[in-house]
């Protein structure tokens, strides 16, 4: 099926959106200066539920927005196939707009969705900064918000509320897996000097807190030699790379993501950074676009993972997902696609269970504990939404870069996997309680002393 099939996509303000999106999908590097609103699925008058999604389709994060749109299309197609097979699947209408990675735009778009489109469920957001702001709209308006991409664990722990759910790994999950990987690595090579560099916004800071908590829970001893906070979309990392080199860490963990991560790696690779330092990115580093950017000569010592991998797990469901995405778009997906796909499936299943979307409270009850069999689930496990945090519980795989040309134009993929069970990666009730208490008492975190 074409990505621009009229049955699944109707244009809103711009009739040229299909052509434009097609051009974007074929060349991810040439993103538009302005994105337009996209409407998918059933017409408003026929829809059982209207979902309003916010994804960037411009700038460094634009690729993730475009992949999310494709993920939504794939979910709608799967639901349509189920309906055609006679299953009681609700009809979804999905409206998508671009907050341009700005919290102010995000809030305004979310409010417009509610006011003008009568959206019953909000979804999306790549940046945790935008998600923080939109989550407040969700809380205030008592409208379900399904987070599909952003990952700050503050959104489900300290700032979590009844109407906020997230359906991809968050920073806690990734850092819990990363902490286990680092623990095992320490047993092998005895590293002790750790530095962290993350984008200077909520996601970066929370990722660092998550990692420290997870390492402390595991009893890993180490010395933090540097904490650095370049701004989001920083064009020049040279002062930070130099500062890291001066601090002489053995491991640098980064939460820099997307185009920023690619820029950081390229700039670091032009120095002697990788001669003595192993760089780890547990949440986004193995995203497909980053692997493509590594070319065929990646710097040594990279430790990577992401919220979805095209080559793990090698289950039929994941392979079908990756293949279908490729058939639709002529390229392989970033993890954003699977996040958006999951978000739409979660909404559909919840509406199905709640018997409609008019009552947000019933939707909340349906979403709490909802089980979903997803492409990223290893054999024998199905993701589910934790009743307390509303965070989806999923397994993770962390690995190193290996030559792999099965997913061109990428020359490398992640391999040498270390797989961590989903249940092990959940924050303990004690961690959740301490963090929530700390937030209520006004402290930044409930960190153990370093």
């Amino acid at each position: 099926m074409s990505a621009c099939a009229p049955a699944h996509r109707s244009t809103g303000s711009s009739p040229a959106i299909c052509l434009m999106a097609g051009a974007l999908l074929s060349a991810a590097v040439s993103l538009p200066a302005h994105a337009a609103r996209i409407e998918l699925g059933a017409p408003a008058e026929e829809a059982d539920v209207i979902v309003g999604c916010l994804y960037p389709m411009t700038g460094r994060a634009g690729t993730y927005g475009l992949d999310s749109v494709s993920g939504i299309e794939m979910a709608l197609k799967d639901l349509a196939d189920e309906a055609a097979a006679g299953l009681p699947v609700p009809k979804l209408r999905v409206v998508i707009d671009d907050p341009a990675s700005k919290a102010s735009y995000g809030v305004r778009i979310a409010e417009d969705f509610l006011r003008n489109d009568h959206v019953q469920v909000l979804c999306g957001m790549v940046s945790s900064g935008v998600a923080q702001a939109v989550s407040e709209v969700s809380r205030r308006e008592k409208v379900i918000l399904i987070g599909t991409d952003h990952a700050s664990s503050r959104l489900t722990i300290e700032a979590g509320h009844r109407y906020y759910f997230r359906v991809t790994n968050d920073s806690w999950t990734s850092m819990a897996a990363g902490a286990r990987y680092l623990r095992d690595l320490q047993a092998k090579n005895g590293w002790t000097r750790l530095a962290f560099i993350g984008p200077d916004y909520d996601y970066g800071h929370v990722s660092w807190l998550d990692l420290q908590h997870a390492l402390a829970d595991l009893g890993v001893t180490y010395e933090t030699v540097a904490e650095l906070w370049p701004k989001l979309y920083e064009p020049d990392y040279s002062v930070y790379i130099a500062a890291l080199q001066q601090a002489k860490p053995e491991i640098v963990v980064t939460a820099i993501w997307g185009g920023d991560f690619i820029a950081f790696v390229k700039q670091a690779a032009s120095t002697r950074f990788f001669e003595t330092i192993q760089l780890a990115n547990f949440d986004t580093g193995a995203n497909y676009d980053a692997l493509v950017a590594l070319g065929d000569t990646p710097p040594p010592g990279l430790i990577l993972s992401a919220r979805h991998h095209n080559n793990w797990p090698e289950t039929g469901r994941n392979q079908r997902f990756v293949r279908t995405f490729h058939d639709l778009n002529g390229r392989y997906p970033t993890y954003a696609a699977e996040g958006a796909y999951t978000g739409i499936l979660a909404v559909a299943r919840a509406v199905e269970i709640a018997g409609g979307a008019k009552d947000s409270e019933k939707l909340v009850e349906a979403l709490e504990g909802l089980k979903l069999a997803l492409p990223e689930d290893p054999p024998g496990f199905a993701s589910y939404i934790d009743r307390d945090t509303h965070q989806i519980v999923q397994a993770m795989a962390v690995g190193t870069v290996v030559p792999d040309t099965r997913f061109p134009p990428a020359k490398v993929m992640v391999g040498n996997w270390a797989v961590y069970d989903a249940e092990d990666l959940k924050p303990s009730p004690d961690v959740i309680r301490r963090r929530r208490d700390a937030a209520r008492s006004g402290w930044e975190s409930a960190l153990p002393p370093p």
């Binding site: 700005k102 800071h205 040279s238």
Partner: protein, 577 residues
């Protein structure tokens, strides 16, 4: 261990050619290194001066301009917000169009990546409202509790407070507040608006490591804290120099890290000197080894020359596998000694032969005529004598006279050798004549006589003299053999010469006699004259040949003649018995 004679060594070195060349090489190398070092020092100094001179001033001025411009933009943003007419509606919490407009404006303004958000303060300094931007994190956005700015330094410029810096710590970024009172109006008096600014957005403008990391521009805050380009407290400071002021209390300071560039240069210089020392030490070691080897080899030459001078003409220098100058001198020395020895041998022999020849000729002349008279007389007496006893005595006397005549004849031949008339002659012919003359004697003594080899070879020599020589050698061989023995004569070609050998399996010659057998009148035979071999060698020499004798006592003797080859050879098979 043998004590080192330092004085001797020094004296040797003073006069040693090798030492002179080595010292010259050392002087040239050391001189070049000194010149290089001077140039290097000058270049390093120039480089440092250039990096820390004019360009640095330009860089610092540009850096100060960037920081000032950034703050100017934020001040302009703050002024616009503080003066915006709809802000009071927003602060009052009114649900009006003006409040909505202010909310949208504040959200948009707060979304700058350099800001965490926009904050409003009451007159008492407590927080009134916060507008988080996309970079907002932690206090005061997610929890206002614990937010305290009372202990931060404050600098006021034209009614604008610069609060901070709050330093990065415990997972949080550093920041400063730029705060300004709202314009007079319906809001509570003393209410102020502040931009919550990333500290790193200001310090990043300092740039990286300055110029090639030599001078790092840093930022001094009002509380004296020195911040680096990442917004953290700078550590490991070296030589601080004050730079331009950005704000009251805020100024650029320069950390001149001369060691950043001078240390590698000093290290490179150290390596240069170490390398030079190693090179000089290596040259000295090579010199010592080379001079020792040269002294040893030249010492051998000197010893050889001394031995030669002392009369040891047989001294020869050892010839090693080398092909260098010393080896060539050694070979030339040996050749010279060889030729000198041969020349002296020939001269001595010639002298000896001249004296002996003159003496022998004189004796022969004096003896030959009386002998002839005695022979004639004895023959006449023999014919007339009837008494058989006396006749036998006379016959014996005649025989002795004949022997004396042969001796005289030999003496004359030796003393007045006739010049050879060389011509091409077949070696086979010579051997045949010789064998025919010797065969009766050989058969009589039961000796086998045989010839062989390339008998068709033509040699260039006097055939009569050659037959004479071969017969003489053959006679000696036959007489040396016992009955049943064998004498072999062979002819071969070798290196453009004909080689004739006369071998026997007789008693051989004792080694102590071998050197004397060519001396005139030396003989071991009871009836020999001691002139046969001497005359043979004389004849062979006269025919441009040479004669060598090799013998092993009890196994036999081989005499080898080398004679000139006449050119073409005759087709004649070998093997005459």
């Amino acid at each position: 261990m043998k004590p080192v004679n330092v004085q001797g060594l020094m004296r040797q070195m003073r006069f040693s050619l090798v030492a002179r060349y080595t010292l010259l090489s050392l002087a040239v190398t050391a001189g070049a290194l000194v010149v290089l070092s001077v140039l290097y020092e000058r270049m390093a100094g120039d480089l440092y001066d250039r990096l820390t001179g004019e360009r640095l001033n330009a860089q610092v001025t540009a850096t100060a301009s960037r920081l000032t411009s950034f703050l100017d933009n934020r001040l302009y943003q703050l002024a616009n917000l503080s003066n915006h007419p709809s802000i009071p509606s927003f602060l009052d919490g009114q649900n009006t169009a003006a409040a909505a407009e202010a909310t949208a404006l504040l959200r948009l303004e707060a979304d700058l990546p350099d800001l965490y958000g926009i904050l409003f303060f009451n007159a008492d300094g407590s927080l009134k409202k916060v507008i988080p931007g996309q970079a907002a994190s932690g206090s005061p956005y997610w929890s206002a509790d614990g937010w305290d700015i009372s202990r931060l330094p404050v600098v006021t410029v034209d009614g604008v407070d610069f609060v901070g810096p709050a330093l990065p710590a415990n997972g949080r970024s550093g920041w400063i507040l730029i705060r300004q009172p709202l314009r007079d109006g319906p809001t509570e008096p003393g209410t102020s608006i502040a931009l919550h600014l990333r500290l790193a957005s200001l310090t990043e403008l300092l740039g990286g490591g300055g110029i090639s990391g030599v001078v790092a521009p840093l930022l001094r805050a009002p509380d004296g804290t020195i911040l680096d380009a990442t917004g953290r407290v700078a550590t490991g400071l070296k030589e601080l120099t004050d730079g331009p002021r950005i704000l009251p209390g805020w100024s650029i300071v320069l950390d001149a890290r001369s060691d950043t560039i001078l240390e590698p240069l000093a290290q490179a210089r150290l390596w240069l000197y170490v390398t030079a020392a190693i090179i000089i030490a290596f040259i000295l070691l090579v010199f010592l080894a080379f001079s020792r080897s040269l002294r040893r080899r030249i010492g051998t030459l000197v010893t050889g020359a001394g031995s030669l001078a002392a009369g040891d003409l047989g001294y020869r220098l050892p010839e090693g596998p080398n092909h260098d100058e010393i080896s060539r001198v050694g070979r030339a020395f040996n050749t010279m000694a060889e030729q000198l020895s041969g020349l002296i041998d020939r001269m001595v022999r010639a002298e000896k032969m001249a004296v002996l020849g003159e003496f022998a000729t004189g004796v022969a002349h004096e003896v030959r005529n009386p002998l002839a008279t005695m022979k004639t007389t004895v023959q006449a007496l023999t014919r007339q004598e009837r008494d058989p006893d006396r006749q036998e005595l006379l016959t014996d006397m005649g025989s002795q006279i004949d022997r004396l005549s042969r001796v005289v004849s030999d003496l004359l031949t030796y003393g007045r050798p006739s010049p050879p008339s060389p011509r091409p002659v077949a070696a086979g012919d010579l051997l045949r004549q010789t064998v025919s003359l010797l065969r009766p004697l050989a058969e009589e003594q039961g000796i086998t006589l045989s010839t062989g080899g390339e008998t068709g070879l033509l040699l260039f020599a006097d055939p009569d003299q050659m037959v004479h020589v071969l017969v003489n050698l053959g006679l000696n061989a036959v007489q040396a053999c016992r009955a049943g023995g064998a004498v072999t004569m062979r002819v071969t070609a070798q290196g453009g010469q004909v080689v004739l050998t006369v071998s026997d399996d007789g008693c051989g010659i004792a080694p102590e006699h071998l050197a004397s057998v060519l001396t005139p009148f030396f003989t071991q035979k009871p009836r020999g004259t001691g002139l046969g071999l001497t005359i043979s060698q004389q004849m062979v020499d006269a025919n441009a040949g040479s004669l060598q004798i090799a013998s092993v006592p009890g196994e036999g003797t081989t005499v080898t003649l080398h004679l000139p080859l006449a050119g073409s050879t005759l087709k004649e098979s070998a093997g005459h018995g």
